[in-house]
Each structure stands twice: as C-alpha cells, then as structure tokens.
Amino acid sequence: MYKIISADFLAPDIKRFIISAPKIARKRKAGQFVIVRTTEHGERIPLTIADSNSTEGTITIIVQGIGKSTKEINSFNSGDYFTDVVGPLGHPSHIENFGTAVSIGGGVGAAISFPTAVALKEAGNHTISIIGAKTKELVILEKEMRDVCDEVYVTTDDGSYGEHGFVTTKLKNLIDSGTKIDFILAIGPLPMMRAVAELTRPYGIKTVVSLNPVMVDGTGMCGGCRATVDNKTVFVCVDGPEFDAHLVDFDTLMKRNNTYRDFEKTALEHFSCHTHQMFDAAVKEQN
C-alpha cells in the first residue's frame, strides 16, 4: 500500500498527488514512469513521475481524469492509499547540453515534461517552455516552469490566456523569428506530438516525444505497448518511453489507442454515480 501524502486539483479534472514511495523517489530520473493500481480491481495505469523528493521519500504524479481508471484515481484523497505503485520504469530522458532546448507540454503533458525541463536546465541548456492548453483554467505548472526555464510561453486554443493558438503556432513563430533551436521535447496528446514532429522535420531539429500507449505489466513482458518506430516494432515500456519523433509511426499508435474505446465507455457508465458526486463536490470545494 502506498500512502497519498497530498492530493489537490491543479485544474478541473487534473489532480496532483504526492505519494510516499521512498525507494522510487531515490532512484527515479527525469522521463521515467510508475504504474499505479488503485484497488484490487484496478487496472495497471502508467503515469510519468512529475517530480520527486528523496529526503521526504515522495514522488509526484499528475493525473488527468479522462477514462474510468483515471477518474477513479482522481477520486482518491490525501490520507488514502493506492494498492500498488511500481517503478521507476522505462529509460530516463537523454539529457545533455544541446544548446537551446524547448520543452513543449500539451495539456497534462506540461506536467510530464516538467522534470525533463528541469534536467535540461541543470545540464546547462538555454531552456524554453511552451505550455499549451484548451483554455485558461486548464493551464498547469506555469509558475513552476517560470521558476526553472529561461523563457516560458503559454498558448490556449481559445485565446483565453497567453497567446491564441496551438503550441505549434508558437513553435513556428520561434523558428521563423530566427531562434536557433537544438533540441525539442514534446509531450501531450498524440495529434499534438505528431504536429510538432511534422513541423520540425523539414528543419532537421532533433525532436523527442514521450509515448504513453496502453500498457499492462510495464516490464516488457506482454508487448501490449508496442509501437512502430523506424519501421521496427518497439515495446514502449522498456525501449522508451521517449523516441525520436521523426521516426514514430503516429498513425498506427493512434489506432492502437482506440482498442478499448468501447470498454472505456462501459467502464465509465459503471463507475458509480456516487463516486461522481463525491468527485464533483471535491472539485467545487477546491475551486
């Protein structure tokens, strides 16, 4: 059992958990993930470690409630326990002093890109962060990013905050205005990552994405997380999760991510109204 030390909503449906997991806190590096199982009936859900504190023995994860399982995670509160937390899994991000490094986080991807942005800064890069969100209230970690990065830009799809447009709009502006970019890490929904990859391809800018396919064990045992990279099959959990964006077959990945769509609907319907009410109440309370 893994105790939740604190849990608070950063935005509607996006919750930050600090969990007691001393061993993982000690070992984990930027870019690695954990697998969380909420209860004995739960799925094994891969979640990137957003931060850690080895003195306190805690790790931070940030979860967006989309399907049943993530919504259920978000119904947990401080003082509750997750049944299983295992990690750190996957390869750490490849960090070096590239020169100018841009970390792009779409939606909850901002949280996932945060530890790597920190590591890139520590490695001596000039770091630029682009945070993208649908709308103002979904912008997360802006302050944390500002504390770390040399430049931070926010874009919203509806223009309610920061610059109007997508993360790629901003990225293109930067490139067009002559900013010399040596490295890009893009994390977010698949269409966003693909758009970034397509944008940077002609410029030959080294671009890395962090993939989050459906997983079961997270240790290379099942192959459920496979993706096509450079025309070869990889197991994202052990070969990744970060890959060269220009080599990833996003199309297949997007299709594979639909495998359990119908089940997700059923699961959500079964997710009791009771939990929903509690969840909504919690959101209200915090806002």
Binding site: R37, H41, S69, D84, V216, M221, T233, E264, A267
Partner: protein, 475 residues
C-alpha cells in the same frame, strides 16, 4: 484390504479422473479436471507394483519419492503421502496439475510397458488437494537460523521452489516480484481452468508460514539492480525471472488492433481478471461471436485458444505450421481443446495480417505447408507449398510462438554472462552464473520450458547456494 498380488494389481484399469463436461466448461473458467475421489485414488495407488528400483523417480526433475508416496496413498494415509511428496516438491498441487507426467515419470512406469502407466500426476494432485482441504497446507520443519540472507528474483516456479528449499535450511529468504501478485507464470500465464489461482495462493501462503518474505512491485533491474541487492546485505542471489519477452512473427500487420501476444492476452484475463470486466477494470478483446485464431502449438497456445472460447468466441482455431504430432502441447491439453470445440488447422503458416481503415484486424493471409527433412530440433521442417495462399477471416489473433528472455537484468548487470539468445549462462551442476554469489535457473537460463524443469533448477540452485553460504570462499 489383503495384499494384492502383482497380477491383481495389473488387472486394475487406470482410473479416469472426473472432469467437467465439455459443453458446460467451455463457457466457464472453473477447473476442467475435478480430481480423484478417495476411492479412486486408493484404487489407482493399488496399481503401483512398488518396484524395488522405482524407475519412475528417474523421470522426475525434482526426484519425488513416487513409489513411497503412492504406497501411503494405497494405505489411506493421505497426509503421510503429502508429507512424503513435500520432502522433494514444494508445489505438489501445482505440479500435479501442470507437469507433463506422460513425458517424465509416467513414461518410465513399468506398468506402462504392457498397459497404461500408473496415474502419478493425478495421485500427486489428489494428495496435495486432500491436505489443503483437510488440514490446510502443513508447514514443513525449518532448520536452525543460519543468519544468511538470500534474495530471490522472480516468484515463478523456479523462485518458489528455490525459496522453499532455502528457508527449510534455515536461511532467511526474500522473494522479489515485479508484478503485484506472487506466482509468476502460474498467476499470469496458466488459466484458472487449468490451475485455480486459489491453489497457487495457498502454496504461497504455506511458504510465507515457513518464513519466506515476499516483496511485490519490485522490478529488479529497475527498482534495484543485482549489485544494489548485494549491497543491501544479501549473501547470495538467485535469478529466476523466467522467459518474459514475447516473440512476434515479424510479418506485416502485426500491430493491428486485435493482435495480441499470448502473454498479453493471458495476463489480461488471468492476472487482471478481464473476464470479469467491468467488475475488474482491465478489458480484453470482446471475443463474443467472433473468429479467433491462435498461432502456435504449445501449451500456451492451448491455454489462449481455450480462453478465447470461454470468452465467447464463435470459432476458435489453432493454426500451427507443423502437423499435430510435432505439437509441443501436452496430449491432454490438445484433447481437452478438441472436446471444447477448438478447430485445429495444421501445416499452415500466416504470411500477413489484414486490417481495415481503422486499424482493426480483419483476417490473415495463410499459406499451407508440407513436412520436409528434419531440422535442428529433430522435427520435420515445414516447407511452404507455393500457390497455396488463402485468406482467413479473423477478428482476433494471438501469437503464441514462445518467449525470449527479458534483458533487464543482463543489461543492468554486465558481469552476468549471457549467450546470444540473451539467456543467462550457468554451470549446469551448480547453477552458478559468472558473477560471484549469483545463481540462476528456470526459463531465463533454458529459454521457455516447463514449470517442473524450472522447479528442478530452483532446487538444484538451492542446494548449491546452501553449499556456498557455508563457505563463500569457494566459488
């Protein structure tokens, strides 16, 4: 009962184990075999000739004293029989179910020369079940504490048998498991209808009672490396992580939705209990009314295809590139599968998978084969018949062509030597690896094999570890 003569014993027919009828069982996950009754067990035990030199024991990878436990069964001393088996085998309820006795002990049995061999496996199973249901699994005796600590990596059959032997010798044993449940392939791989999980749990409980400590959610290689375990004060380490890297066929279309490795399909159903979705959160492909093909001919392929049938598949096929005689699956499993309505398509190999626009599997292009000259495995090599290609409509496919070794430990511990195929290299007699204090056994050494071979390796290693702990200067 008066002593039976040899002749009388030989006249008793091999007793048939009751099983759930095929019609009923193909829609449930309850165990297929129901086990002997006490009467059937005694009757079967009476068939044993009590040979002065029991050759059956030679066939047993862990050396169970078969003749002696069967004698106790024939005398009605079932608990005594259980204790006798436990001297050599820590998981009898598991082995009685999944060991290929027909290739090991039973194939050697002298009554099998003229008639049918004594049903050793069924008796073992009966005895273990009797003990569990009548007294609970009884705790064997544990030796005086030696003060030595052993870490066991992997809680499958190799790890569990190694743990059992070492704890009995007074060592303190900690087992590290990557998943959230103990048992490795016994939990994630072998289905409920062949090995009820309750039985594995009971056997694990018994080990806990002996003092074995289990740590789940520990992926050695990631959570801790082997060197870090050494640093934590373990005097010896046994690696029994199994062969956990599923092979795919590397043919076009293998990443369509609906194409699974057997590991994934079985793990979802067995470990994650997807067959009870939505009560359990993990889904698996909805087989109801669908066409399912499992590619491969081993026990795992049988497990997968029979699972798909239980999940409601309309047509469930085994597609295998050789012929039925070459299939590595146990005869009993093949027989059960056929009874349940599984269709066998032999001498056929897939060339590619066919999918739709949305990425869903729709079929496979298959090619007929014929048998040519024997290959390296001694089995006749399948040779494609040109022009025999055809399309089979499919909604789900499971690839069950075996597993390679998961490279996690080898990658993070470079001084443990492994071969080209990624298997850890050990001394055959002591299971010692190239790294001092580290032993290995089971599928990580041999590549995909059987539960009992892994257990045998675990035992062998336990003996060598015990020796080593007495005098660590000798390596």
């Amino acid at each position: 009962m008066p002593e039976l003569t040899k002749k009388e014993r030989m006249k008793i027919p091999r007793q048939v184990m009751p099983e759930q009828n095929p019609e009923e069982r193909r829609s449930n996950f309850k165990e297929v075999n129901l086990g002997f009754t006490e009467e059937l067990a005694v009757m079967e035990a009476n068939r044993c000739l009590q040979c002065p030199k029991p050759v059956c024991v030679e066939g047993c990878p862990v050396g169970v004293q078969i003749r002696d436990f069967i004698k106790l069964v024939s005398e009605g001393d079932f608990l005594g029989a259980a204790a006798k088996i436990k001297e050599d085998n820590v998981l009898p309820a598991v082995c009685g179910r999944v060991c290929p006795q027909e290739e090991q002990c039973e194939v050697k049995c002298v009554t099998g020369v003229k008639g049918e061999p004594v049903a050793i496996g069924r008796l073992e199973r009966f005895v273990a079940d009797y003990e569990r249901t009548h007294t609970g699994i009884r705790t064997a005796t544990v030796g005086a504490p030696t003060g030595k600590k052993v870490a066991i990596v992997g809680s499958g059959p190799a790890g569990l048998s190694c743990a059992g032997d070492l704890v009995q010798r007074g060592h303190s044993v900690t087992v590290f498991e990557a998943l959230h449940e103990i048992g490795g392939v016994l939990i994630y791989g072998i289905p409920e209808f062949r090995l009820p999980k309750e039985i594995v749990k009971a056997e694990v409980e018994a080990l806990k009672n002996l003092g074995v400590e289990f740590k789940t959610n520990n992926v050695i290689g990631f959570s801790d490396t082997v060197d870090e375990l050494m640093g934590e004060g373990y005097d010896a380490i046994f690696i029994g992580v199994g062969a956990g890297l599923p092979y795919f066929m590397n043919i076009p279309g293998e990443n369509y939705n609906g194409v699974y490795s057997a590991n994934e399909f079985l793990t979802r159903v067995n470990l994650m209990k997807a067959y009870r979705f939505p009560e359990f959160d993990t889904p698996v492909f909805d087989c109801k009314g669908k066409n399912v093909a499992v590619f491969g001919g081993g026990n795992t392929a049988m497990d997968a295809v029979r699972t798909s049938k239980r999940l409601g598949a309309k047509n469930a096929f085994i597609v295998y590139r050789r012929s039925e005689v070459e299939m590595p699956a146990r005869v009993e499993e093949v027989h059960h599968a056929k009874e349940e309505g599984i269709e066998f398509i032999m001498l056929t190999n897939p060339l590619e998978f066919i999918g739709d626009e949305q990425g869903w599997l729709r079929g496979a292009k298959l090619q007929k084969m014929e048998l040519g000259e024997p290959d390296a495995s001694g089995r006749r090599r399948p040779v494609p018949i040109q022009g025999s290609e055809y399309i089979m409509d499919l909604d789900m496919a499971v690839i069950a062509i075996g597993n390679g070794s998961n490279p996690m430990i080898q990658k993070t511990t470079p001084d443990i030597t492994h071969n080209k195929r990624g298997n850890i290299v050990v001394d055959e007699n002591t299971m010692k690896t190239s790294k001092k204090g580290v032993f290995a056994g089971g599928d990580i050494v041999t590549g995909g094999a059987t539960v009992i071979l892994a257990m045998g390796a675990g035992r062998k290693a336990a003996g060598a570890i015990d020796e080593y702990l007495k005098d660590p200067s000798v390596w």
